[in-house]
Subunit: 294 residues, 2 copies
């Protein structure tokens, strides 16, 4: 299933997307997508609701109503996790680190698939990172690598928006990673039965019509199974938690052409089997002007 | 006021502590300490309830019922924030960094003042850090330094428990900081009107009867007002959020004598005007044995 959270006049509700753009409301089954994912009964009921739905009578998605598909208790992200290009004959694993580099994005970073990201006043070097985000389905503590994928509720897309200037100013990256709205997430969670192999996803970013990132998750250093296993040795993962698996480097031409994100820019992250997430950027000054005019 | 959260058969309730050990229940005024702190009306009503309470009829605190005084949406912590000792004639500010080094503890780290911290299996170098924790009282975005302290709801104590081995393995400290229960908090929040000047607090740690840390917040590099101001330039702080202000270094003799925390150890953090927070440590192996015997 592809699970979304959508806004209604009476609050956010979970739903499944079928036939490309039709909604099967799941609000009668569970209060949230996390609840659907974390309960076998709810998941079965949701599948039954999808199977029995009469597509012709279903409402179409209003994309403007889509919210972040889950509200994670924790957003854990990986730093360096994709190998770069190496010349023929060189071992691509030669520079692999021993452990993933893990950092945290705070809850204020969460944004929905239609939210514009506000570039904070004083942020001079805002950048995007297109990532496969794992949504945890079950409480996970000290799980083996073999069992780790059983704890995945689904996959979605996260843009790990980062202010490189703040990121460089300290040893720890928090202030470069944790501005409000710096974690657009969505548009939906694809359950593992419908998602491709998580180690065979093409992660791409498109900016102004140009593909700036294009690399397969087959080139990650740490697999999804390993990362879940690894994190769960140290802390307990809960349903709805996000584990974002890092970004590939920009393509060489995109590195050369890179400029910080500015008001009016838009970035699309697209991942095979998971869909695409387009995020617009707007400067805080423009927001302030709009608010004072309103 | 000194505000606590205590467990009752019907759930957690806020209360004020008066006359050392008596409880004025505030559950009829607000659902949580955060709600008391974030609403002027609730704060006034709480003060009135305390003023009109008949101490002789109030129940005594059962310390075993105390929970973490707030459930923070974010726990932001500072790295290096206390100046070390420098010889006479040397400028103590000479090595001050330009910006605070900020990192995040995830929600699973939160623990109450009576919770034992479980030393995870495989954690070989667990350490304590006694810290003044600021509890945010009002939504805070881009506040000036002059106004920053108006956004403080109160002060409490945090033990920033850290696994130095994990902390050293990566550039980012998350896995060294975010094991379950690694942020004991409490026992209460002291509102600013009753707390001493936050830049004149003596922070001490006692381990096995030996004072291992003893340093005043007058020696911090970044004041509470500056830190609140600074963080709020980058992200929005919400009521109940915790900003922990870093730990002093251990005293030289304690550095020499230091050994990692082990099963059965206890550490007390005491801070002038804020009280003391004693945390016991227990190994995961012992917990597992107890659970399998139960």
């Amino acid at each position: 299933m592809r699970l979304v959270t959508y806004a209604t006049p009476t609050g956010a509700r979970p739903a499944a997307v079928v036939a490309d753009d039709r909604l099967v409301d799941l609000g009668g089954i569970a209060a949230s997508v996390t609840e659907v994912l974390s309960s076998g009964d709810a998941l079965d009921a949701a599948r039954a609701a999808v199977a029995s739905a009469d597509v012709a009578t279903l409402p179409r998605i209003d994309a403007a109503t889509l919210l972040a598909p889950v509200v994670p208790g924790k957003i854990l992200c990986l730093g360096y996790n994709y190998r770069g290009h190496v010349p023929d004959g060189v071992d691509p694993t030669a520079n692999d680190p021993e452990y993933p580099d893990v950092f945290v994005k705070t809850p204020n970073t969460l944004a929905g698939p239609n939210d514009a990201v506000v570039i904070p006043a004083g942020a001079t070097d805002v950048d995007y990172e297109g990532e496969v985000a794992v949504v945890i389905g079950r409480r996970t503590h000290q799980v083996s690598m073999e069992d780790a994928l059983d704890h995945v509720g689904g996959y979605t897309i996260l843009n790990d928006v980062s202010d490189r200037a703040w990121q460089r100013r300290q040893s720890q990256w928090a202030l470069g990673k944790c501005s409000d709205g710096f974690a657009p997430l969505g548009p939906w969670v694809v359950t593992p039965d419908e998602a491709p192999d998580p180690q065979d996803l093409l992660v791409e970013v498109v900016r102004e019509g140009v593909v700036t990132v294009s690399q397969s998750t087959s080139t990650t250093i740490f697999s999804v199974a390993y990362v879940i296993h690894h994190l769960s040795q140290v802390l307990t993962l809960e349903p709805g938690d996000i584990v974002s698996t890092g970004t590939p480097q920009k393509l060489p031409a995109a590195q050369d052409a890179h400029r910080p994100l500015a008001d009016g820019d838009a970035v699309t992250v697209r991942i095979s089997g998971l869909g695409e997430l387009t995020t617009r950027f707007i400067s805080a000054q423009v927001v302030a002007t709009q608010e004072s005019a309103a």
